[in-house]
């Protein structure tokens, strides 16, 4: 059953076609990687999937609902309720502690719950560092806090933008392991990446070139 379906979407900026008639189908519980060189339309696609932008043409179905024509306010609601975001540059609120950063996500979603936030930090192995400010955490630790923040509201879809772009190999593996765990639990993952290794961890890789889907690779070696 499809959680996300892009139907012939295009995003046109004046003369430039950032996305040109792209279609994509992601099933519930699936782990998909999106690859492509700079300017291939990855970011645009990511913005549209993340409910931060709308396509010029085409339909976006999330959980069966067409979100491509919704007003910004409704898109915010959908993003908050259904999507967990992970960024390349982590993006933590610098003056809040790790646990508080997780709670910010709860705050906008429903109700802040410190115990639950601590538990989420425990899942990413940072229970001990909960009271640290971002400046006191390493890059890998910050990204793990962000993973905890993304999963705290039990989103249907986790959208990760170059999640390991700023991490060393050890931390990359920790984050990928976390993804595997989430996948096993049934979370749908869409990971945008440059890194073939990260892409290979997914079940399926979509390669974008010049705003179109150039090819689709199914990972034969995928281990559940």
């Amino acid at each position: 059953m499809a959680l996300l379906e892009l139907k012939n979407i295009s995003k046109i900026y004046g003369e430039l076609k950032a996305l040109d008639n792209v279609s994509l189908h992601v099933d519930k519980g699936e782990w998909v990687a999106i690859m492509g060189p700079s300017g291939s339309g990855k970011s645009t696609m990511m913005n549209i999937i993340g409910c931060m932008d709308k396509p010029t043409k085409g339909e976006v179905l999330l959980d069966g609902e067409d979100i491509s024509r919704l007003p910004g306010k409704r898109l915010t609601d959908i993003r908050r309720d259904k999507i967990g975001l992970i960024f390349q540059q982590f993006h933590m609120v610098t003056y809040l502690t790790a646990v508080e950063n997780v709670m910010v996500s709860q705050y906008y979603h429903s109700m802040p719950d410190e115990a639950e936030a601590l538990e989420a930090l425990g899942r990413v192995g940072l229970r001990e560092r909960a009271k640290h400010l971002p400046s006191q955490l390493s890059g890998g630790e910050q990204q793990r806090v962000c993973v905890a923040r993304a999963l705290i509201n039990h989103p249907e879809l986790i959208l990760a933008d170059e999640p390991t772009g700023n991490l060393d190999e050890a931390n990359e593996n920790i984050v990928l392991d976390l993804f595997r765990q989430l996948h096993r639990e049934g979370t749908t993952l869409i990971v945008v990446t440059h890194d073939p290794e990260v892409a290979e961890a997914a079940q399926r890789t979509i390669v974008l070139e010049h705003g179109r889907v150039a090819r689709e690779v199914v990972n034969e070696n995928f281990v559940e």
Partner: protein, 484 residues
């Protein structure tokens, strides 16, 4: 944890953990609130302070006898009862008479008053020496002192000459056979010449005594002794005509004329109306720069002893009140033989000066508040640019525009709260310093000042956040993805 607690936690964390930037905003609000609290305190305290100061420019109300009535000390104190005690700065009674200084053949306007009250109603009076305290002590105006050469510590004799005639026509009625008439008139140097005449059976002058002791002995003074001059009056009927009935004594024209005038005005002698002379000690010379320098001042009691009359011409009141209140008091005081009037020159200028001062304070406050708003707004604007990514992140995490507005408004108002509380305290200190240095008096803390300052500061801080918030809301959440 509730949403509200998380909200407070975020807002306080933002302020406490990002100190340097917020300190600037806090400082500007604090300074704004300080000026606000200080100015408001001064604004409300200035009229009180200034009114007390202004009272040094002299009396602002006059009490006078009503038409056809006379004023005495009893009526005055009855009228003063009608004024609230704390509003009355002072009330100086005045009685003006002319007293003669016989040794100098001069007479001076002399004011009988209450020196203790004078120092309150006319604080600008300056005395070289001291104010009289004991009986028979007087102040002499500088002009007189220079003219007659008296100094602090000198003594001088002053003579009270009772009114020669009270009602017109009485002099004629008194010219009956066998009557003894006495009278006076002003001679040389405005000093009195006294005459006493006894009439014969046909109401003609039988005997004449002249007291010209106030006149220059070698000129006017001779009228009293010159036999030929005196002889020409005997056997004449009153009134006399100069140059027809009598000739002037050569070298004493003025005194001669005074003798004739005194005789024409003479009435049946009255024992109580005899001239009375007392010696006074000068305790100080009065310097005012005004007409008071031409007066002699003695206590009401001394003047009463001298004249035997309890009478007042006017009382000068210094009342600490604004024009409207003064008018009300004047109305309340009028009646029972007295009428009150405002000294418009003083009350009007007082009201005008106070109004202008308050307007100035108000203006300065408004300007400072506008400056505060600009400063806070600029700081918050910088804060928004600095936190673009954080705002983008919050929006990406699902913050609605209203959440963003609420958070910035919350931070702004929290700053307003802290800055306002700080400002209320510092402002009071500021007002106190101004008050002590400018007005020489301290002010009491108004408890209402604290909440009002805090509230205004919060409102100003909130208003300053409007533009920055608008900018924050416009930030695109997509900036958190990639690049940037």
């Amino acid at each position: 944890m509730t949403k509200r607690r998380m909200f407070l936690r975020m807002v306080t964390a933002s302020l406490l953990r990002r100190r340097s930037r917020m300190l600037i905003a806090l400082l500007s609000i604090g300074i704004g609130a300080t000026i606000l609290a200080g100015m408001v305190t001064i604004y409300y305290d200035v009229p009180r302070q200034m009114r007390a100061q202004m009272r040094s420019y002299g009396a602002n109300m006059l009490l006078m006898p009503a038409e056809g009535e006379t004023l005495d000390s009893e009526r005055l104190s009855a009228a003063l009862q009608k004024l609230p005690e704390e509003k009355l700065v002072g009330a100086s009674p005045y009685r003006y008479v002319r007293l003669d200084m016989t040794s100098r053949q001069q007479s001076f306007t002399t004011a009988g008053t209450d020196f203790e009250q004078v120092q309150k109603t006319s604080p600008y009076f300056s005395v070289e020496g001291r104010y009289p305290e004991a009986p028979r002590e007087i102040l002499v105006g500088k002009e007189i002192a220079e003219m007659i050469g008296v100094k602090e510590g000198s003594s001088m004799e002053l003579t009270w000459q009772p009114a020669a005639k009270d009602a017109s026509g009485s002099a004629e009625d008194d010219r009956v056979p066998g009557a003894t008439l006495s009278g006076s008139a002003r001679g040389f140097g405005d000093a009195a010449v006294y005459v006493t005449a006894t009439l014969d059976d046909e109401a003609r002058i039988a005997e004449l005594t002249i007291d010209a002791s106030t006149q220059t002995p070698e000129y006017g003074g001779r009228t009293a002794e010159d036999a030929l001059f005196l002889k020409q009056f005997i056997g004449k009927s009153l009134p006399l005509s100069m140059n027809e009935d009598v000739d002037v004594l050569s070298g004493a024209t003025v005194t001669s004329t005074a003798v004739v005038e005194a005789l024409n005005a003479a009435t049946a002698a009255d024992a109580a109306a005899k001239p009375k002379t007392t010696r006074y000690e000068v305790t100080g010379i009065l310097v005012t720069g005004g007409e008071e320098e031409g007066y002699v001042f003695m206590s009401t009691d001394d003047l009463q002893t001298l004249t035997g009359e309890d009478r007042l011409d006017v009382a000068e009141l210094s009342v600490s009140a604004d024009e409207e209140q003064l008018n009300a008091y004047a109305e309340a005081l009028t009646g029972d033989g007295v009428q009150a009037r405002l000294v418009k020159r003083v009350t009007k200028s007082e009201t005008a000066v106070l109004g202008k001062l308050q307007a100035l304070v108000f203006l300065v406050t408004v300007v400072v508040l506008i400056l505060t708003m600009i400063c806070v707004s600029t700081t918050m604007m910088a804060v928004v640019s600095e936190r673009r990514r954080e705002i983008g992140l919050r929006k990406a995490l699902g913050a609605s525009d209203n959440s963003i507005r609420g958070e910035f408004l919350g931070e702004g108002m929290f700053l307003g709260l802290l800055g306002g509380a700080l400002g209320a305290v510092l402002g009071f200190v500021f007002a106190q310093v101004v008050s002590v240095n400018v007005f020489n008096s301290s002010i009491t803390f108004q408890p209402l000042l604290l909440p009002v300052t805090v509230l205004v500061s919060m409102l100003i801080a909130a208003a300053s956040c409007l533009m920055p918030i608008k900018r924050a809301v416009a930030i695109d959440p997509a900036i958190v993805l990639k690049g940037e």
